[in-house]
């Protein structure tokens, strides 16, 4: 498999005290939109900073497109467009000056650099703010400028650290659309703990917990880990009628129905029977009761559930997480699905 990022047993311990990344192995396929999930302090940002050579790995190795990462790995940084969380940009500069400076750092000739800056500013909607110092821009505008900065060198790999953090809904939508669009032509790695973002844009996902990669693989594999036997039915009508309908449904063998909130039924189906047939039977009951069906949700918040399930599993493994066996480079990461 052609890989954009590969880490092997990557470990980072700060001052011999704080373990930020713990024996982490990760493979990001070229062309993927990879979501890196994990709670705060899981080691996502540290991993990115090791890839960029801003921090040194205590042990293990990291490669980007086959080139080892390190403080002087200029070639690696040339291929990465990095967007930090809440980017701290030089406030006294104007957006176009900042992008021009970055263009020079990326050794882009003036003839290419100047037109690119303007098109980037237009793309991120900052053409109207070109005469304002960066320090006067809002959080959303600063993030958009950071996005433009990550694209100055037109890199084949984008590494964006919590790009939607602190954004209003419109700015968040803009960012997610941009990730989707950019993911068509390059590899994108996005870290976040907002699961719906990952759900919307990523085709591969990695879950980090306490510095370890506890799952890494296609998005579908992660969702498949969940039990998919629950549905939510939203129906109209009076409470009394909804309660009566729930009671009728509970009479069906193996079916468990609970009323949740207003007019919402949580339906759990037995795995050993045909779910389609059972669901059809239940929907007929709704129709027979004369209640309008507003919506059916299947596996609501499935990514969130899968994610939480992974974290719980990792914690419940306890001492089993300790593994002294020497691992081959191509061995599966603990927590991966069997092929």
């Amino acid at each position: 498999m052609d890989l954009a990022i590969r880490t092997e047993h990557l470990t980072k311990i700060f001052n011999n005290r704080n373990v930020a990344v713990n024996d982490m192995s990760l493979e990001v396929p070229r062309g993927a939109v990879f979501g890196l999930l994990g709670p705060n302090g899981a080691g996502k940002t540290t991993t990115f900073r090791i890839l960029l050579g801003l921090q040194r790995a205590t042990a293990g190795r990291a490669e980007v497109f086959g080139i080892p990462c390190g403080p002087n790995a200029v070639e690696v940084r040339r291929m990465i467009g990095y967007l930090p969380t809440h980017p701290q940009l030089p406030g006294h500069l104007r957006p176009i000056e900042y992008l021009d400076l970055l263009g020079q750092l990326c050794r882009i000739p003036k003839e290419i650099r100047k037109p690119r800056l303007v098109s980037l500013l237009r793309a991120v909607g900052l053409l109207g703010q070109t005469d304002q110092p960066i320090e006067t821009l809002s959080t959303g505008e600063t993030t958009r400028l950071g996005i433009a900065a990550s694209l100055v060198a037109d890199p084949p790999l984008l590494v964006w650290d919590e790009p939607t953090a602190g954004l209003d809904p419109a700015a968040r939508r803009f960012t997610l659309d941009l990730i989707r669009e950019l993911g068509k032509s390059r590899t994108v790695v996005v870290s976040t703990h907002i699961l719906s973002d990952i759900d919307q844009v990523c085709d591969h996902v990695g879950v980090m917990h306490e510095g370890r990669m506890i799952f890494s693989g296609p998005m579908q594999d992660m969702k498949r880990r969940l039990r998919r036997d629950d549905f939510l039915l939203e129906v109209g009508g009076q409470d009394r009628e909804v309660q009566r309908l729930a009671a009728q449904m509970n009479a069906v063998e193996g079916v468990d129905v609970q009323v949740r909130g207003t007019n919402t039924l949580l339906v759990r189906l037995p795995q050993e029977r045909s779910q389609a047939a059972l669901l059809a039977e239940l929907l007929k009951m709704v129709d027979a009761a004369g209640l309008p069906l507003a919506a059916i949700h299947s596996g609501l918040h499935e990514t969130e559930n899968a994610y939480l399930q992974l974290l719980q599993e990792d914690q419940s493994h306890g001492f089993q997480r300790f593994d002294l066996r020497p691992r081959r480079a191509d061995a599966p990461v603990p927590g991966d699905l069997p092929p």
């Binding site: 700060f14 900073r49 960029l52 801003l54 921090q55 040194r56 403080p71 002087n72 200029v74 070639e75 940084r77 040339r78 990465i80 990095y82 930090p84 980017p87 701290q88 940009l89 030089p90 006294h92 900042y98 400076l101 970055l102 020079q104 750092l105 990326c106 050794r107 060198a153």
Partner: protein, 293 residues
Amino acid sequence: MLPFLAIFRHDLRILLKSWLVRIWFMAAALLALVLLMSSWAEVKTAPMIASLMVPWLVFPWFVVVMVLGVNPITGSRTEALADGFLSRPIARHEYLLAVWAARLAVVLGTYLIVTAPAVCVAMLAKRPAPADHVTLYGVVASMAVVALVLALQVSLAFLMGTLLRKALLAVVVLLFLWYPVNAVLHTFRLEAFSPITLSQTLPTLLRQSWRTGEADLPAPGTELEIEELKRQAATFLSVLSGGAAEEAPRRKPGFFEQNALREFSLTKVLLGYGVPAIASLGLALVAFWRRDL
């Protein structure tokens, strides 16, 4: 070269906009004017020019120079630095050399802009003071020596900023290192490299000519002056070892009249300041290369 120049220009722009540099420039110009006026009528040209160099060699400008040198890679700037620049395709040594060069340019630029016109005025103006033979070579060599001392101060500050990370701590450590440097150098018989001795030998250097070198040196000091030098060293060591200070002589020669170092060697001084400056920069590069951001 493009990234180096980009960082250099960017840093230079920040420095020139900073209030520290602006106030420093005005204060240095004012002090030079005051020194020039105060010695206009009586002091010979060589001691007059030497007195213009004293604030740069001894006090107070080394404090500003060190603050400027410490600043770029310490404290809250580190994060912005990492996010803004070092995550881009630029090597760390390129960045560090560029900001070092920018600081050096500002320090030397301020020094030259303030001092050069004052030196020209002192040399060319007709004054009531006794005539003195100051050579062009002497002026250039003296200014180069002071510039080299300033380069060492910037480089030392850079090293401390890289090693200690906290700007305030680095400045305090530097002050504690720099203040007693004269006493330490005297103790180890390296007084030729002490900034105070250097400023005292500047009149000698200013009168030196390019061709004749040592032959054209002014007449060696009197036996009395040599005795005075010996007495000062003995007193210093005596005080250090807990003894009583010797009684002071009746007449003390002026600061620039001591002619303390007749064996002054420009090459030695250039090496004595140049090598540590380069070594400090090299160590700063190594420390910065090894450091996590």
